[in-house]
């Protein structure tokens, strides 16, 4: 039986946590060891949320050893818009003493701590939280038989959660079945046993307090997945069929999916010997007439800098995905950071202008990939996509993109070129003649990294270097003319405009909404096009007293984060300030609120 230290209060004193019987949203943190399969229960919950038209965002930590270790999975689930993984947990499931001790501090005042009483000794002096002890280990062993000591605890807990939060048990069991159905029948049987006994376990009237409100209309086509998977889908939809890469966390799952998927589309992805080879292969594919993809995380992006400079010079259409993690060097390989922005723009030698985009959430990974391919093709140039570790691994639910609208079939342009053909016209777009193309004038082109004339012929003419440098810049200027000025969320004038990018956009919006609900004159704006910047920012910025750029990187020598420095250099406005953070974690809403307040009030 469960040991409940305190009955859950339906109304408590912690800020912003007024939970009625039908909860709008809940943050559930599962803390245990990665071996216990807490990632999979988290995943099941997220998928269920997607299925029931609820919003969801997840967050997890990866243990530092391969064999596993302490790890958490947090699910923020709700019927409203979910923009962050949650600063505080409403509900903590602690599998071990270390899980309890390490995470009780993130449980909100009045929150419930469910713990495995076979492993955890909670501090009974603590009157801020409600404690519910369940002998999870023993109960699971009882349920499924004494064989696999640690197996099944996760499903037992899932059953309990399903009961407590009033989740859709039929759908949830369907998801479990789809997952385990692939394996042996015995596995599914055991999983069901564990789940059912968790579901049936008597834990008092917790469920009254924690019943989650169902989502909106349930007939929407909703996907529940992470950013890396949506990036892959975006590339596939946009017609990318070739690529090459080298494994590195957190990029690997993109290349693994592409390697497995592309043969179905008649394409292929090569695992290269290193990142230098990977981008060279991607450029080889691009030269062959196919827009191609490569990618990495920081250390690998650094290795791609020389070839990227070639891509700019030769004007080859290639997508380079960088899933940012904590730096410098090997840094914090499994944490989030947004500290490769300047490198993406300026990391290669020479004046090497290139396009840099950043998705703002999991769903946007799809659309940003589509946009990247569009730009790469139209302007025949490299496009860097800056994703980040948070986007790569967190799970969100959102409406399925319409493939009728977004699917592009790749084509290979082999039309013979006439005598007047020039790949690099001084005015007009680049147009390569891929190999296999007949040159009716009899003269075949050489693509080069040397400065060259309109035909691609090397030249050291001072005049041509000026003209071609202008030409490479002008492509990005044309793109700038074409991208929309981003919308302001909230009023278009006021005290503070918070500008952000990448995975920080969600928490920023949540913070701004919260401040607005308190009557503050705060708005926000997401930047998806980082280089070139969209037009109109000076105007927008000028209508606010302050602009606060929120990003996960260092405030630098002069007090400004990377995007903030870029904006200050580019625009002629003097009100740009920074909110930065370098602890390897996403912004907490409360950190942003404090940062915005600081910017608002400081001189």
């Amino acid at each position: 039986m469960s040991t409940s230290t305190l009955p859950p209060s339906t109304n408590d004193s912690s800020p912003n946590s007024d939970h009625p019987a039908d909860l709008q949203d809940a943050v559930i943190r599962l803390a245990g060891n990665s071996q216990d399969g807490i990632q999979s229960i988290g995943g099941f919950l997220a998928r269920l949320a997607g299925r029931t038209a609820q919003d969801v965002m997840t967050y997890m930590t990866i243990p530092s050893t391969i064999s596993g270790g302490p790890s958490i999975f947090q699910v923020h689930i709700g019927s409203g818009e979910i923009l962050s993984a949650g600063d505080e947990a409403d509900f903590l499931m602690a599998f071990y003493q270390h899980s309890y001790e390490g995470h009780i501090k993130v449980l909100r005042k009045g929150g419930i701590c469910l713990y495995d009483s076979d492993h955890v000794q909670p501090n009974l002096e603590d009157k801020d939280h409600h404690y519910v002890g369940v002998p999870i280990t023993a109960a699971t062993v009882e349920a499924i038989g004494g064989t696999a000591k640690d197996k099944g605890k996760n499903l037992f807990v899932l059953g309990m959660l399903c009961q407590i939060f009033g989740l859709d048990v039929v759908k949830l069991k369907g998801i479990i079945e789809r997952q385990f159905g692939k394996k042996k029948e015995e596995v599914l049987r055991v999983a069901n046993l564990a789940f059912d006994s968790g579901y049936a376990y008597q834990i008092g009237d917790l469920k009254k307090a924690y019943h989650l409100k169902p989502g909106h209309a349930g007939d929407e086509h909703r996907l529940t997945t992470d950013g890396n998977q949506m990036m892959v889908c975006g590339l596939l939809a946009a017609g990318v069929r070739y690529g090459a890469g080298y494994p590195i966390t957190p990029w690997s799952s993109i290349m693994e999916s592409l390697r497995a998927e592309l043969p179905r589309y008649g394409g292929l992805f090569v695992q290269a010997e290193d990142e230098l080879a990977a981008i060279s292969m991607a450029l080889g594919f691009a030269y062959s007439g196919h827009v191609a993809v490569t990618g990495s995380a920081g250390p690998g992006l650094s290795l791609k800098m020389e070839a990227l400079s070639y891509a700019v010079m030769a004007e080859l259409p290639v997508i380079v995905i960088n899933v940012q993690r904590g730096g410098p060097s090997t840094g914090l390989p499994t944490n989030v950071e947004q500290s490769d922005l300047m490198q993406a723009i300026y990391g290669s030698h020479g004046d090497a202008p290139r396009v840099v985009l950043a998705p703002k959430n999991v769903e946007d990974c799809f659309y940003i990939a589509v946009e990247a391919v569009r730009i790469a093709k139209k302007y025949s140039c490299p496009v860097i996509i800056l994703s980040d570790q948070s986007l790569s691994s967190r799970i969100e639910a959102f409406t399925e993109p319409s493939l009728a609208e977004w699917m592009t079939e790749p084509t290979l342009d082999q039309v013979s070129r006439d005598e007047n053909w020039k790949p690099y016209p001084l005015t007009g777009e680049t147009g390569h003649a891929p190999p296999g193309t007949k040159m009716l004038g009899g003269k075949y082109p050489v693509v080069t990294g040397l400065e060259h004339d309109e035909w691609g012929h090397p030249t050291a003419s001072p005049k041509l270097h000026v003209e071609m440098t202008n030409r490479r810049r002008a492509k990005l200027v044309r793109l700038m003319d074409e991208i929309p000025t981003p919308d302001v969320h909230g009023d278009t004038s006021g005290d503070v405009l918070v500008v952000s990018w990448g995975s920080s956009c969600g928490p920023v919006k949540e913070a701004v909404d919260r401040l607005r609900s308190q009557g503050q004159k705060v708005s926000c704006l997401d930047l998806r096009h980082i280089h070139p910047l969209p037009h109109g920012l000076d105007n927008i910025f000028g209508r606010f007293k302050k602009v606060a750029v929120a990003e996960l990187n260092d405030r630098g020598l002069y007090g400004y984060g990377q995007l903030a420095s870029l904006l200050r250099g580019a625009l002629s406005v003097s009100n740009i300030r920074s909110i930065t953070k370098t602890d390897g974690l996403s912004f907490m809403v409360r950190e942003l609120i404090a940062g915005i307040e600081r910017v608002r009030t400081e001189a």
């Binding site: 179905r264 090569v270 010997e273 292969m281 070639y310 891929p434």
Partner: protein
């Protein structure tokens, strides 16, 4: 398989004239001129359709090659021509990929790509114009410079043991390994042709004198300069006792033994043995995947992926 090079009826003949582009910027007397001339000749002979000829190179004097061949060409970055070419070879099975470069480009900065392209057995031909020196950057020690060679980076003579390119590529798994001297044009022609006809990764080390910075480097294998051009006698499988002593090009150990001979060593085909190319293996995977999905569009495939995420 490689015989199909000759099959399609050709509309226009590929001539030396059609293949000639800019006049090479090489120094008068540079060995690379002969390599270029023989490459033209072999292309003329094989009649590969003009638009299907792709030459790819890194950086160096020798790597300027693509400018001098009127065909689709790529002058890429130093040391990375092979991975670039790997992709072209995989993506464009209709084309013929030729990679050219120098000893610095291929064996120093590019050495790892060489190992991996060889083991993966990409369908392409790689001709290294080995002059035992860095030419373009004006006379530094190269990985093939012999001990004692005086360069700007070894003013008292090179001290590091040079690499042995033949050994390296044999060990890496190259399926065709040839060696020639650019002064021996008939021999070079034969080796180039066999390399190009080979279905897989073929590499030829063509000793090509840098008259500017290493004049006389190959005199010892140049008969005109009093050297001995020692050609490998290949097995004829004619059952004669003499044939015993001849070289079996499918014998990797024998090839390695030839590679172990002192400079100037032997010339000819050290090794040739067909095995599946990466091109064929990847295509096999695509084909077997596609077989199970006849009539399914890319859109349907992606939609199915979406459905899995619901």
């Amino acid at each position: 398989m490689s015989t199909d090079l000759l099959l399609p009826p050709l509309p226009e003949k590929v001539t030396k004239k059609a293949l000639t582009a800019d006049h090479p910027t090489w120094c008068p007397g540079c060995g690379d001129f002969a390599v270029l001339a023989i490459f033209y000749r072999v292309l003329e002979k094989l009649q590969i359709p003009h638009e299907k000829i792709i030459t790819i190179a890194g950086i160096g004097c020798s790597s300027r090659f693509p400018y001098f061949v009127n065909g689709h060409g790529v002058h890429y970055i130093h040391g990375r021509a092979l991975p670039f070419a790997t992709a072209v070879s995989l993506a464009r099975p209709d084309c013929h990929v030729f990679v050219f470069g120098g000893d610095g480009d291929g064996f120093s900065i590019g050495g790892n790509h060489l190992n991996h392209a060889a083991r993966k057995n990409l369908k392409l031909t790689y001709i290294v114009m080995d002059n035992f020196v860095y030419g373009l950057t004006k006379m530094q020690t190269s990985p093939t410079s012999p001990i004692g060679y005086k360069s700007k980076t070894d003013p008292t003579g090179s001290i590091d043991q040079p690499i042995n390119p033949m050994k390296q590529v044999l060990a890496a798994g190259a399926s065709f390994v040839g060696r020639t001297n650019a002064t021996q044009v008939k021999h070079m022609e034969e080796i180039f042709e066999r390399a190009i006809r080979h279905e897989g990764f073929s590499i030829v080390q063509a000793l090509s004198e840098c008259v500017m910075f290493y004049a006389g480097a190959f005199d010892d294998s140049t008969p005109r300069k009093g050297g001995v051009f020692d050609v490998i006698q290949e097995k004829k499988h004619d059952g004669t006792p003499e044939d015993e002593a001849r070289h079996d090009v499918t014998d990797e150990i024998a090839a390695y033994r030839l590679a172990d001979l002192d400079h100037p060593g032997k010339f000819g085909v050290f090794y040739q043995k067909e095995r599946p190319t990466k091109n064929a293996l990847e295509q096999r995977w695509i084909d077997s995947t596609k077989e199970k999905m006849v009539g399914v569009t890319d859109k349907e495939t992606l939609q199915k992926r979406f459905d899995m995420m619901k």
